[in-house]
């Protein structure tokens, strides 16, 4: 076995011994890290879902141009050609008034019988404009709408531009709140871990002194404390992940209506494997940094 492996084993043994020597202090540190990460993770989960929704709808963004009633077929085709030439438009589909009515009928399902009483089709023909990938945004939609606005034969233009802009503002707000809260809680976590490690250093003064006497380098003395911080942070991250998973599945049904307003009826999803690892890794990193801060300049003698 190499010397490095021997040292890593020593660090592991010593760190675990340190944690088990002060279980309450360690448990409080892990729990505090977990609570901080649950709050940050909750915001992250909301942001990821909102971003996911935007991505999902982003690929489906389109502009609809409703045509004036009684417009001739030739003019309808002519307008379709004009629309096809607009920058940012990938494809144009002419939807006749009859097709629009059939779609509506299929959409209302059990209410379809009531439509039979209408007598005549109230729906206009329209042009459905699919946007090119580079125009799948609020700005891209604005360009297309401006290009078609005022053309003779087009009665009304409809796009999700306002909705997308509002949603992006809401997303930025949530993201900003998450980042702000995350920064504050990260500092709190760092201080808690640093305090825990400082207590461990004080409790193990004798050990540090003896290690130093037998020729331990400062890095060798610091190693187990850093590992202790890292383990506590990772444990806090894992606990936070577990709590979030529980909250996600237990609490979600009771707040489904509120979520529907934010997520637009799309079923929310939990963290992916990579994101879950990222949460645990964030805890570990916070633990490591907190321990590093506690040890900086503390073990020089």
């Amino acid at each position: 076995m190499s010397r490095i492996a021997a040292r890593v084993l020593y660090f592991g043994r010593t760190a675990l011994r340190g944690i088990s020597a002060s279980p309450i202090t360690s448990a409080v540190a892990v729990a505090t890290i977990a609570v901080c990460l649950v709050l940050v993770g909750g915001f992250a989960l909301l942001v990821f879902n909102m971003e996911g929704l935007l991505d999902r709808f982003g690929g489906d963004l389109h502009v609809t141009a409703y045509l004036e009633p009684e417009l001739s077929d030739a003019r309808q085709l002519e307008l379709a050609e004009v629309a096809r030439s607009v920058e940012g438009v990938a494809a144009v589909r002419l939807v006749s008034a009859d097709e629009a009515f059939e779609r509506f009928r299929a959409g209302v399902a059990r209410g379809a019988d009531y439509l039979d009483g209408l007598g005549e089709n109230p729906l206009p023909a329209s042009l459905e404009l699919a946007l090119a990938p580079e125009s799948q945004s609020a700005a891209g939609m604005a360009v297309v709408v401006e290009s078609l606005d005022g053309l003779s034969g087009i009665d009304e233009l409809s796009s999700g531009q306002d909705w997308v802009e509002g949603y992006l503002r809401a997303l930025a707000l949530v993201r900003g709140l998450g980042v702000g809260l995350g920064a504050i809680l990260a500092v709190a976590t760092l201080l808690i871990v640093a305090n825990t490690i400082r207590l461990a250093v004080v409790a193990r003064r004798d050990e540090i002194e003896i290690l130093s006497l037998v020729g331990a380098s400062p890095a060798f003395v610091r190693g187990p404390f850093l590992l202790e911080g890292l383990v506590q942070g990772a444990a806090g991250g894992a606990l936070a992940l577990l709590l979030l998973f529980g909250l996600f599945h237990l609490v979600l049904p009771s707040i489904a209506f509120g979520l529907e307003l934010v997520l637009g009826g799309v079923a929310p999803s939990f963290f992916s494997g990579g994101q879950a690892l990222g949460l645990v890794g964030s805890g570990a990193l916070l633990g490591l940094l907190g321990a590093g801060g506690a040890l900086a300049g503390d073990l020089r003698s």
Binding site: M1, I210, L211, V214, G215
Partner: protein
């Protein structure tokens, strides 16, 4: 026991051969005008056994602290195993300490660790594999008659046994220099001889040994070179006379 020459206090050592320790006009002060050591010059050869004696506050512990780089001298130079301790950087100190074993009056054992773990600390530091460390610890504990106690904790051992564990920890890495600061200060007279015999045996295997003690009876029993400190100065450096052929 016969003692030899007396040195003029503060005199430079004579031309030594292969010295493990060389101190040149070393002074140490902790406060302005108050010296723990004053103009101390000393040379200890490799494999030599030296008693450092003197009353409390004479500077014995201060000199030992300088030798294992726990402190830096205020003036002068100290060479330990060829390394200038006065100029040793923080990163070089661990390397020196791995070559210098230290034994203290209060044993400095970790109460929550077993005897095996306490002794093994010196091997953990140099990255010895666990299997090799166990074998080495067992061997040194066997030499000191403590192999059956290796899974015990220090507080379940007698004072003499605890000091033997401390000696085992100091010797397990086969250091070139062994420093002992009042190693028998907390022990009964019978145990004192037992512990000092163990320390003296290290010198017979080529380790340079420097023992600080104020027990003159103990010094007389071994007939070794004795350096006497008073008020931070060397006032006597006595070597045993070599019998005429």
């Amino acid at each position: 026991m016969k003692f030899g020459r007396r040195l003029t206090p503060g005199a430079a050592p004579g031309p030594g051969g292969d010295a493990a320790i060389r101190a040149y006009h070393v002074s140490k002060s902790y406060a302005a005008g108050s010296f723990a050591l004053r103009d101390v010059s000393l040379e200890v050869g490799r494999g030599e056994f030296v008693f450092l004696t003197g009353p409390s506050g004479a500077g014995k512990t201060s000199l030992l602290k300088l030798l294992f780089a726990a402190e830096h001298p205020s003036e002068g130079q100290i060479l330990v195993l060829g390394r200038n301790v006065a100029r040793l950087g923080d990163r070089a100190i661990p390397d020196l300490r791995r070559r210098v074993g230290v034994v203290f009056q209060d044993f400095k054992l970790l109460e929550r660790r077993t005897i095996e773990e306490n002794v093994g600390l010196a091997l953990d530091v140099v990255g010895t594999s666990r299997r090799e460390a166990r074998a080495k610890v067992f061997a040194i504990l066997k030499q000191l008659g403590l192999q059956h106690r290796r899974h015990h904790h220090p507080l379940s051992l007698s004072g003499g046994e605890q000091q033997r564990v401390a000696i085992a920890r100091a010797l397990v890495n086969e250091p070139e220099v062994l420093l002992a600061d009042e190693p028998t200060g907390n022990l009964d007279p019978d145990l004192t001889v037992e512990i000092m015999d163990l320390i003296a045996s290290a010198a017979t295997r080529g380790t340079t040994v420097l023992v600080a003690t104020h027990e003159l009876g103990l010094v007389g029993r071994y007939g070794k070179r004795t350096v006497r400190l008073e008020a931070g100065r060397i006032v006597e450096d006595s070597r045993p006379r070599v019998a005429a052929p």
